[in-house]
Symmetry: C2
Subunit: 299 residues, 2 copies
């Protein structure tokens, strides 16, 4: 858990950040993967499909448990994430995200190898594991008025909202998405799961086209609202974390803070928890993002 | 205190890093400045000359103590450090480091304003304050075989070596300098304080032309050896900290780790403490360094 006097002054709030970039594998995903895999009966091998952080988490848990793992990753996954998965000892199968269906590839591997498929978010044990992030935060700092959490498939916020409402009654849980990956915001407005076009956001961990079957009802029940942030707002938050807190955070990891810094949530005078969901970004990509025209197109 | 399984595997050692980038002001300098200023008798104002981290530390302590502060900084000090000093509320006087003498400017201000000059390193209370970094590290992790510390004026290593030898008898303390700021290495070889030409290293916190009058005898007595690292080795360490540990560290702050990673010190099987001395670097400068030809000129 990290704090910043500068951030508190900027927001007029007392902010507690849970730093999941320091979790094993560099993101919150280890929590769900470990919880899920630990409860499998007699596993012989593991399969996962993921653009990155979930892949690393499953590869790492597989190594810890002494199980072989195969990870199905898109060809265009960030290099630092591909490299980390291989270094953890997992097999990597890449696919073309435009022409191939990763679900089919994974299903075939499950049949061929008798492996267990570890879902990235739409699973009770994966959600429960992810929720230990908010659980630890509130356990450490006490009751909060507001908790701000990014949304990809919704496993992190579903687990965190469940833990937060149980430990800090009356807490307001706010979800945040990149503006072009706003499937959950649209689904909340529609009252049902909406499917969007493939998002192009740099927040690669949040490129999901529709909320999970299991995560969405929990979000409807426990999340007060879902707001969106622009690309430049995400980069501003990454640059703040870099310059003022000496922290490296990937775009997805900075989305919740970006919403707070951009004034999307009223935090004045509040005790606020922000989940920084991960830090897996290489220097090259970080530098491209903070120096890109994308970062100057403030709208 | 931070650890990395990847780093331990890489070095074949058990490494404990003291993360001074998370200290107030973003570097270890707060420790010495606070200790010194707290012991002044009836201070009315503070003066310091510094290229950066000491300046920030004095400005910050002045604010905490409610004292006016004037900081004499070179025109070419990193923008992020100039900005932080001003944000802490201190007056900044810039000078041309080629044609002007910062000591004279500061002495004039001391006379004019009745202010106390806070030295950056060559002072017993500043050294003692800096030494609390190693004190806290050993207090937290227990006895160490080796402690690796960067050397600018020598205040950090003098204080840390004093604390380390007292708390962890038999510890080997190794100093590290950038290769073109090797005044202490040359002085150790000569057995007396040697003056070098103005260094051009990117490790701006370590640009010192001769060891301190007070720090050098302590270094001679308590530091086993002083090794040097190249610019590219410093950048490699910065990139490792960024990519594998999600940490932003300035060049000076990465110098001790660079020596470990470059094999300058035999650490095999040892319990090793490394002081990461500071993190004050902006994204622009970080990106220029990691993408510069300097980083590809491995020698």
């Amino acid at each position: 858990m990290l704090t910043s006097r500068t951030l508190n002054e900027l927001l007029g709030a007392t902010v507690f950040m849970k730093a999941e970039q320091f979790q094993r594998g560099g993101a919150f995903k280890f929590r769900g993967a470990y919880n899920k895999i630990s409860q499998l009966e007699d596993p012989v091998a593991l399969i996962a499909y993921s653009s990155g952080n979930h892949a690393q988490a499953v590869a790492l848990v597989a190594r810890i448990k002494g199980l072989p793992a195969t990870i199905v990753m898109p060809e265009d996954a960030p290099a630092v994430k591909l490299r980390a998965v291989k270094e953890y000892g997992a097999d990597v199968i890449t696919y073309d995200p435009v022409s191939e269906d990763r679900g089919e590839i994974a299903a075939r591997l499950v049949t061929e190898r008798g492996a267990d498929l570890i879902p990235p978010y739409d699973d009770p044990q994966v959600m429960a594991g992810a929720g230990t992030s908010a659980m630890e935060l509130i356990d450490e700092v006490g009751a909060l008025d507001v908790l701000v959490v990014c949304i990809g498939g919704g496993g992190l916020i579903a687990g965190c909202a469940t833990a937060a409402h149980s430990m800090s009654p009356g807490i307001r849980v706010i979800g945040v998405e990149p503006e072009d990956a706003n499937d959950t915001a649209l689904s909340m407005a529609a009252g049902k799961r909406v499917v969007i076009d493939a998002p192009r956001t740099e927040a690669d961990g949040l490129k999901v086209i529709t909320p999970g079957v299991l995560t969405f009802p929990i979000i409807q029940r426990l999340v007060e609202s879902v707001v969106t942030v622009t690309g430049p707002e995400i980069v501003d938050a990454m640059a703040f974390l870099f310059e003022r807190m000496s922290l490296v955070v990937e775009p997805s990891g900075a989305v919740a803070l970006a919403a707070a810094m951009a004034g999307r949530v009223n935090l004045e005078g509040k005790r606020v928890g922000i989940i920084i969901s991960g830090g897996n970004i290489g220097p090259e990509r970080f530098c491209r993002l903070v120096s890109s025209p994308w970062n100057n197109q403030h709208d």
